[in-house]
């Protein structure tokens, strides 16, 4: 029996080649100056999903992305590589969302898409580098999570075995399905776009895009339903509006500064109450929190 896999993907500004005009005077990212790309680690996650699709017959890969209308490009990029379909979660009500509000909206969209066996996402996005959305989605859906995945060693309809890339080595863990797995950049790079799929799906568009475009091929969308990228709006999910967008986002940008990393080693915390309490105190003391 095949697995139903959802891949969470984000369109991000390409922060890997940052020029002088990358930041605006007010300290926010100048998105116009940076090309919008498929978040690199989400591509690693997509590759893992496509490999499972090849291994476990009958599996399907669905992309889910949240963003403005142009984020549909992420869905097309996924279709060109072998994803079966994709959904764009888009609405003005989602604008200004931090990771908490984002994971809330995404978790509701996933519920709307019906039962799924596996949710894959990149470890983190290169614009915010928070690595929070994947884990938060797992929490909100009440699913177990496996982070820092480098390789999905084994998967069937009941369980998944994952090799994790950690700071001081690798660890192989097993978990039940359904679950959320976030994938590291050390996992294999994503396969290139496939020529046939590229030609098949290059006209794929959302309703909004079709309305905006001066479209020559209208009847094509009727004859070829797979060219319609589905949009999910706030009306499609059963959401508490207070928890969406800017209203649902406790994160506030206090100030932006240029920093140079000085610490040679990162600090390792154990998953104990003492260590976490210690960290919280430190973050409150230096005003990162509160």
């Amino acid at each position: 029996m095949g697995l139903k896999i959802i891949v969470l993907a984000k369109q991000v500004p390409d922060t890997r080649n940052v020029g002088k005009d990358a930041m605006k005077a007010d300290g926010t990212v100048n998105r116009a100056a940076l090309p919008a790309i498929f978040n690199p680690e989400d591509l690693n996650a997509l590759e893992q999903a496509l490999r499972i699709k090849q291994r476990v017959k009958g599996s399907t890969v669905t992309l889910l992305t949240m963003g403005p209308g142009r984020a549909s490009e992420v869905i097309r990029e996924g279709l060109f590589r072998g994803a079966d379909d994709g959904y764009l979660l888009t609405d003005r009500a989602f604008a200004g969302a931090d990771t908490l509000a984002t994971s809330y909206a995404i978790s509701l969209a996933i519920k709307k898409l019906g039962k799924c066996d596996l949710i894959l996402a990149g470890r983190q996005a290169i614009d915010g580098d928070t690595a929070q959305v994947g884990p938060q989605v797992a929490e909100k859906l009440g699913m177990p999570q496996i982070t820092y995945a480098e390789e999905i060693v084994e998967v069937n309809s009941k369980k998944i075995v994952v090799k994790r890339r950690l700071e001081r080595g690798v660890e192989t863990v097993e978990g039940p399905l359904p679950c959320v797995v976030t994938v590291n950049s050390s996992a294999p790079v994503c396969r290139p776009r496939n020529a046939r799929l590229l030609m098949k799906f290059k006209h794929a568009k959302t309703v909004t895009e079709r309305q905006e475009a001066n479209e020559d091929y209208l009847e094509m969308y009727h004859d070829r339903p797979y060219l319609n990228i589905q949009e999910i709006t706030v009306n499609d999910i059963d959401a508490d509006r207070e928890q969406l967008g800017l209203a649902g986002s406790p994160t506030k940008v206090k100030k932006i500064q240029n920093i140079v990393f000085q610490a040679k080693d990162s600090k390792v915390l154990d998953a104990t109450d003492e260590d976490i309490e210690g960290l919280m105190k430190e973050l409150i003391a230096n005003h990162t929190i509160g």
């Binding site: 396969r191 776009r193 020529a195 030609m199 098949k200």
Partner: protein
């Protein structure tokens, strides 16, 4: 992060040639497959958009993967393991990427899962892959052999083998033997027919076979025992899955080291005959070689591009005597001539590819229905033009590729002689282009008829009649003078009715024709986009002086002078 298609505006320029409208309409049979295959184009714009998008994928795979692997592939090379070839790790990665990208069987019909692309975008992909790694393009480019199966094999064979090619199985063409190199009529590998089993078997040795351990091979073999010339040879498909062939040796080469060059031993290897008996050399190999020569043209242009880019980047970065070396006349002259030779060979490459495109497509259409009279005539015209330009392209583009690689090393100075810079590899890789698939000397043999029968002259006069902007007219005047000089020189040689004398001057005359034709093509490029005016001028000035030199040599030469050049055999 590099994209070898998007970073090169010359490619898009050649892709957008006006003749493409006709080529694509023919190739797509007026877009008849649009409702049969979900990836077939709806109209011309859609098809061109697909070409461009797929070439972007080629450019990305080349920039990010194939070019990145080129150095390690060159160092590691393929290995002989259990009588077979094991590719270098980078080669395996390259193949996997191209198979995943669906870039095998680009020109094959959709019913075999091919992309049904015309020749121009296929050759453009070869141009781009060659820039990334000249050795790897051989493994990938041998999908050309599938074109020969598509042209001449039975429907059943096409169905069985072409679907495997589009899934990514690699190919080989097994022609050369220890005693049959340029002279393929001497091929001895024996094919015997077992009547009881209704099965052909191959026995013998093949040498210098590129990718010899490929999954599907076309093998030239002698079916008519007791014969000793080309008319006793037939063409076979050997399927590696059936066994009987082993790799005895992988050659240790100067360049294109990632491409395995194999010595093969066939021992009772079962094989299937392609098409008609005795047509192996005279019909099928000729078709195969024409395709291969166009492919080497693309390889030469791609390697030239790589050489030019390395040289340009180094000349801007390297400082001596207080300034970048690109500011010195000795260096910038070299660079501008490199660019002119690159642009000249590239414009000839795509002109040739377009001519091949039109006539090959008509040929395939003629399998489906009877051609109208003017279609038949058009097919003949384009085939004649393609046959004229193919040896000219192979001969001159490969020589320019070598010259550009030489100059690229020269611009690097001592550093270019070290393995630290890619030009060292590019220089070694370039060397083979003027040797295999027919040496430059053999291209001249193929091209000389175009000189003596007036074929090239007619082409020049055709180009002369094309419409030009006023600012380009003076260049045409120069070209008309060059054409007159060429005509007189050729007449001066031909009037002596001495074959050895003609052969002696053949290369000079062929190159004169080449310089004029490439100048005209650059002029027409400048007509379409003024940006090419500069390179057209540089090439024209170069070609003019080169042609004077040749004409001068020929005018001051007499039949008796030949003796001075001879050695005792």
């Amino acid at each position: 992060m590099a994209n070898f298609f998007n970073d090169n505006p010359d490619l898009k320029f050649h892709l957008q040639h006006p003749l493409m409208k006709k080529i694509v309409a023919l190739k797509e049979r007026d877009y008849a497959e649009k409702d049969l295959f979900d990836y077939a184009p709806i109209d011309f714009e859609d098809a061109m958009d697909s070409y461009e998008k797929v070439l972007e994928v080629v450019g990305e795979v080349c920039g990010d993967i194939i070019a990145e692997n080129a150095e390690s592939v060159d160092a590691q090379g393929p290995k002989l393991v259990n009588d077979g070839v094991e590719y270098a790790d980078g080669t395996k990665e390259n193949i996997e990427a191209l198979v995943n990208a669906g870039l095998m069987g680009i020109t094959l019909p959709r019913k075999y899962n091919g992309l049904n692309f015309s020749v121009v975008p296929y050759i453009m992909a070869a141009d781009v892959v060659s820039r990334a790694d000249a050795g790897f393009v051989n493994i990938w480019g041998l999908q050309d052999c599938a074109e020969t199966i598509n042209e001449f094999a039975s429907d059943d064979q096409k169905e069985r083998f072409l679907t495997r090619v589009t899934q990514g199985e690699t190919m080989a063409m097994d022609l050369t033997e220890p005693d049959a190199g340029s002279d393929l009529q001497a091929v001895m590998l024996k094919a015997t027919y077992n009547e009881e089993e209704d099965q052909w078997y191959l026995n013998g040795v093949k040498r210098f076979i590129t990718n010899g351990d490929g999954m599907i091979s076309l093998v030239l073999a002698r079916t008519e025992q007791g014969t000793s010339d080309g008319r006793g040879l037939s063409m076979f498909i050997y399927d590696k899955n059936r066994g009987g062939m082993t790799v005895r040796r992988i050659e240790n080469k100067m360049g294109i080291k990632g491409s395995p060059t194999c010595e093969l031993v066939f021992k009772n290897a079962p094989a299937e005959i392609v098409g008609a008996r005795r047509m192996g050399l005279i019909k099928y190999v000729m078709a195969l070689m024409n395709g291969a020569r166009l492919g080497i043209g693309a390889q030469s242009v791609g390697v030239s591009e790589a050489a030019f880019r390395e040289a340009l980047a180094y000349a801007k970065e390297r400082r001596q005597f207080g300034k970048a070396i690109i500011e010195f006349p000795a260096v910038y002259e070299m660079l501008s001539l490199m660019k002119a030779k690159l642009d000249a060979s590239r414009t000839l490459l795509y002109e040739t590819a377009r001519f091949v495109d039109v006539y090959k497509t008509y040929m395939h259409i003629s399998d489906e229905r009877t051609l109208e009279k003017d279609e038949r005539n058009e097919m003949k015209v384009y085939q004649r033009k393609a046959d004229l330009l193919t040896p000219l392209l192979k001969g001159m583009a490969s020589e320019y590729c070598n010259q550009n690689a030489y100059d690229a090393v020269q611009i690097h100075g001592g550093s270019g002689f070290m393995k630290d810079y890619p030009v060292e590899r590019i220089y070694r890789d370039a060397r083979i282009t003027s040797i295999y698939e027919g040496t430059t000397q053999l291209q001249v043999v193929a091209a000389i008829r175009g000189v003596t029968t007036g074929g090239y002259l007619n082409l020049m006069r055709d180009y002369e009649a094309e419409e030009l902007r006023a600012d380009l007219v003076p260049m045409r005047r120069t070209l008309i003078m060059m054409t007159d000089e060429y005509e007189e020189t050729v007449n001066d040689v031909v009037r002596r009715k001495d074959n050895e004398y003609t052969d002696f001057h053949a290369r000079r005359m062929v190159e004169m024709a080449g310089n004029i034709i490439m100048s005209y093509l650059l002029l027409l490029d400048a007509q379409r986009d003024p940006v090419y005016k500069k390179t057209a001028k540089v090439y024209l000035e170069f070609g003019k002086s080169e042609n004077h030199k040749r004409a001068d040599f020929i005018y001051n030469f007499d039949v008796d002078d030949l003796a001075k050049y001879k050695f005792e055999a």
